[in-house]
């Protein structure tokens, strides 16, 4: 397959964040699909335990285990890559580490029953984060027997924008935790992955004030965290209105030429063109107001200096078909 430049060549860990309600999980899923082209293996990881990936790909709830959930879009040669999914929870991740470093599988089970694991991750929120980002870093670094990478890319459906800085800034988070020992060493490894050019943080937003503001705040916050890189801004549910700037302004001000609109409607064979034109002009006026407000928000996003991508509005539930559509849009705009 011919190599094709994308905006994120060389990136292997795509962290996807966004305010609640912006479609973060959907976009993470679409990105994973978009990256899973011929022969590639992509891991899509969920860390907030709500089985969003299972719903998205319409499969039964996923365990703490990597499972294939979809096949990437095929190229000209027909074959697509593979999307694997993993639902990572801190408790399973911690048990995995206890077993790895202390051989404590059975003790671990007892500790779970006593609520110790839950207690530990509760009093030290940083511990949760290290365990979850750690799982992602491990997947990024994992090699198979022939010393090749197991996954070409890992896409993480990460916590929302308001928490993303803290979530990724693991070294600061664990400064309160054990200063030596496996968790500490582990945190250092995680940092070496997260603060490398292999990792970027994408922001999913819709064109409304709150999510746009949070996106800008989030990008600004990452800049204060040395070495954590902002990626693209994924503008989800974009519904452009195809009017010229002049028409937009007129429509928003309620000064659209209704006579002209009525003529057009009559030409389309709609009788009662006059009354219909009045009603449709009201609709257009509302939509134009929305479009103008969105235009301003888009300009503010563009000024952040990160590449912006638009994902089309899809009515109703996204479905697998919708996901492929979004994946295609991402590829077309070279986000993947």
């Amino acid at each position: 397959m011919a190599t094709r430049d994308t905006d994120w060549d060389g990136v292997r860990l795509h962290v996807v964040t966004g305010k609640g309600g912006t479609g973060k999980t959907t976009v993470a899923g679409a990105l994973a699909l978009a990256l899973a082209t011929a022969g590639k293996k992509v891991l899509l990881m969920e860390v907030e335990g709500r089985q969003g990936i299972a719903q998205l790909f319409d499969v039964p709830p996923l365990p703490y285990e990597e499972r294939r959930v979809a096949v990437g879009p095929g190229g000209t040669d027909g074959a697509g890559g593979d999307v694997f999914a993993l639902v990572a929870d801190p408790e399973s991740a911690l048990l995995e580490y206890l077993e790895m470093f202390y051989g404590m599988r059975h003790a671990g089970t007892a500790l779970t029953r006593l609520g110790v694991i839950d207690f530990a991750t509760t009093i030290a929120p940083g511990l949760r984060d290290v365990l979850l980002t750690g799982k992602a870093a491990e997947a990024v670094r994992r090699k198979d027997r022939s010393r090749g990478r197991v996954y070409d890319a890992v896409v993480m459906d990460a916590p929302p924008t308001g928490r993303i800085g803290r979530f990724l800034n693991v070294s600061a988070e664990v400064s309160d935790l054990a200063r030596v020992g496996p968790i500490r060493g582990h945190a250092d490894t995680v940092q070496s992955v997260i603060r490398s050019p292999q990792t970027v943080v994408h922001f999913v937003t819709v064109l409304e004030e709150m999510p746009v503001q949070e996106t800008l705040d989030g990008i600004a916050e990452l800049k204060t965290l040395d070495g954590i890189r902002a990626g693209g801004i994924m503008i989800n549910m974009a519904r452009p209105l195809e009017l010229s700037p002049d028409q937009l302004r007129k429509a928003a001000a309620g000064r659209l030429d209704q006579h002209q609109l009525a003529l057009g409607l009559k030409a389309a064979g709609l009788d009662d063109g006059e009354n219909l034109a009045v009603a449709l002009a009201v609709e257009l006026s509302q939509q134009a107001k929305t479009a103008i407000a969105q235009r301003e928000l888009q300009d503010r996003l563009a000024a952040a200096g990160q590449p912006c991508y638009e994902l089309p509005w899809i009515n109703g539930s996204i479905g697998l078909g919708g996901l492929y559509r979004l994946a295609a849009a991402l590829r077309q705009q070279r986000a993947a």
């Binding site: 907030e48 009093i123 309160d176 503001q213 609709e283 107001k289």
Partner: protein
């Protein structure tokens, strides 16, 4: 637009009823909860109520429009009310005379104040300086919900307002608001945290007994993964806090009970989207189990189209007629402009009609499952609401319908 089964939710009746003292707005994130809470507060104030709106995370411009510039736990008087625009006098002749205060929750400050209220100054200072307390009060999952509840209790006790409208913290699940405070209280009062502090407290035989019960292993593992310093911080925190445990529980319990009193009403806020309505369903069911008074569902962002009599199918077909006419015939200019304008209008209309039909299906599904829950629909607003006029526009959906 919902199925015939859904009774109409008359928010005005709720806010005009003087017995209503607390309105809790809950729902999942991104559904317009804060805006709804502010709109209800404004409308109630303009109907003559003395209202305070407790918000957690308002959009910047909306906050500014209400005179809120920072998280400072201080109710600020909102200027620019139009008293007398409301028709209600609550049945006791107090038309006008309403007022609106708004405040943003500062959860750390609220927590600090509880500590200061329940411990002597030395001990309070000791707790406030403890590193574990600092992370607990600023980043512990559930602290925000707990403190919102706590603040609600404080506002209620203050008796300065006759209506409190609460906007619950942004969380994925609407249930967090109910569960988080008790979870936190349980945690602070829990077995393991007791165990950790036990050596310092009981010592001797009891300590040895616990060793047998695997206590050594527990602390061993905790030390391995959390480090000695962290555990020491937790231990000193817990022993400093010991006298306050009862206080914590009592306060959480008091507020929880407050939510069950007749003067409290819950409004579930949702957008006509699958996820939001699923959360709304969970919440409605949960309120039922807890015997908490649900007033109804407010459905935001509903597409209400003036040309709704033109179906999506007809609209698209008409756009296609224009499309083929435009591509086959060379048109003179004014006609071409009319054609393209009509095409945009028809396609956009069809698109929004399709959205409206999906919304209707989702709303009907909700009402089929919860036929007794009254529903009020708020039309989709063309722009983000960021001034009092915008809030008033939303309030228009709150009438008897």
């Amino acid at each position: 637009m919902t199925g015939q089964a859904a009774p109409h939710l008359d928010v005005d009746r709720l806010i005009d009823d003087r017995r209503t003292r607390i309105i809790v707005c809950c729902g999942s994130g991104g559904v317009g909860k804060t805006t709804t809470a502010a709109a209800i507060g404004l409308r109630a104030a303009e109907h003559g109520r003395r209202v305070v709106v407790l918000t957690v995370d308002p959009a910047r411009r909306l906050a500014q429009s209400m005179g809120l510039t920072s998280l400072d736990n201080t109710p600020r008087l909102v200027h620019g009310l139009a008293p007398g625009t409301g028709h209600a006098d609550g049945g006791n002749g107090t038309a006008g005379g309403g007022s609106l205060h708004a405040m943003m929750l500062d959860m750390k400050r609220t927590f600090d104040e509880i500590v200061e209220a329940h411990a002597d100054p030395d001990r309070a200072a000791q707790i406030l300086a403890n590193p574990f307390y600092q992370s607990l009060s600023s980043s512990f999952a559930g602290t925000q919900e707990y403190m919102a509840m706590e603040k609600l209790g404080q506002l209620r006790r203050a008796e300065e307002w006759d209506l409190i409208v609460v906007d619950t913290p942004p969380s994925r699940s609407a249930l967090d608001f109910l569960d988080a405070p008790q979870r936190l209280a349980r945690f602070l009062d829990g077995r393991l945290i007791r165990l950790l502090t036990a050596p310092a407290k009981v010592g001797g035989r009891a300590y040895l007994k616990m060793l047998n019960a695997g206590f050594g292993m527990v602390t061993g593992v905790l030390t391995k993964i959390l480090g000695t310093q962290m555990l020491k911080d937790v231990q000193t925190f817990v022993s400093a806090l010991d006298t306050m445990f009862g206080g914590f529980r009592e306060r959480a319990e008091y507020t929880y009970q407050l939510l069950r009193t007749p003067g409290t009403s819950f409004l579930v806020i949702a957008a006509p989207e699958a996820d939001a309505l699923r959360e709304a369903s969970y919440f409605v069911e949960r309120l039922g189990q807890e015997r908490m008074p649900l007033a109804g569902l407010i459905l935001n962002k509903v597409q209400q189209l003036p040309a709704a009599h033109l179906s999506a199918a007809r609209s698209l077909a008409a756009a296609e007629v224009l499309q083929s006419a435009a591509s086959t015939a060379a048109k003179d200019r004014p006609d071409a402009a009319a054609t393209s304008l009509a095409m945009v209008a028809l396609r956009s209309h069809a698109d929004h009609m399709e959205q409206a039909s999906v919304q209707r299906r989702l709303a009907e599904a909700f009402s089929a499952a919860h036929p007794l829950v009254p529903v009020a629909e708020v039309p989709a607003q063309p722009e983000d609401v960021h001034d009092l006029d915008g809030l008033r526009a939303i309030g228009q959906a709150f009438g008897p319908g």
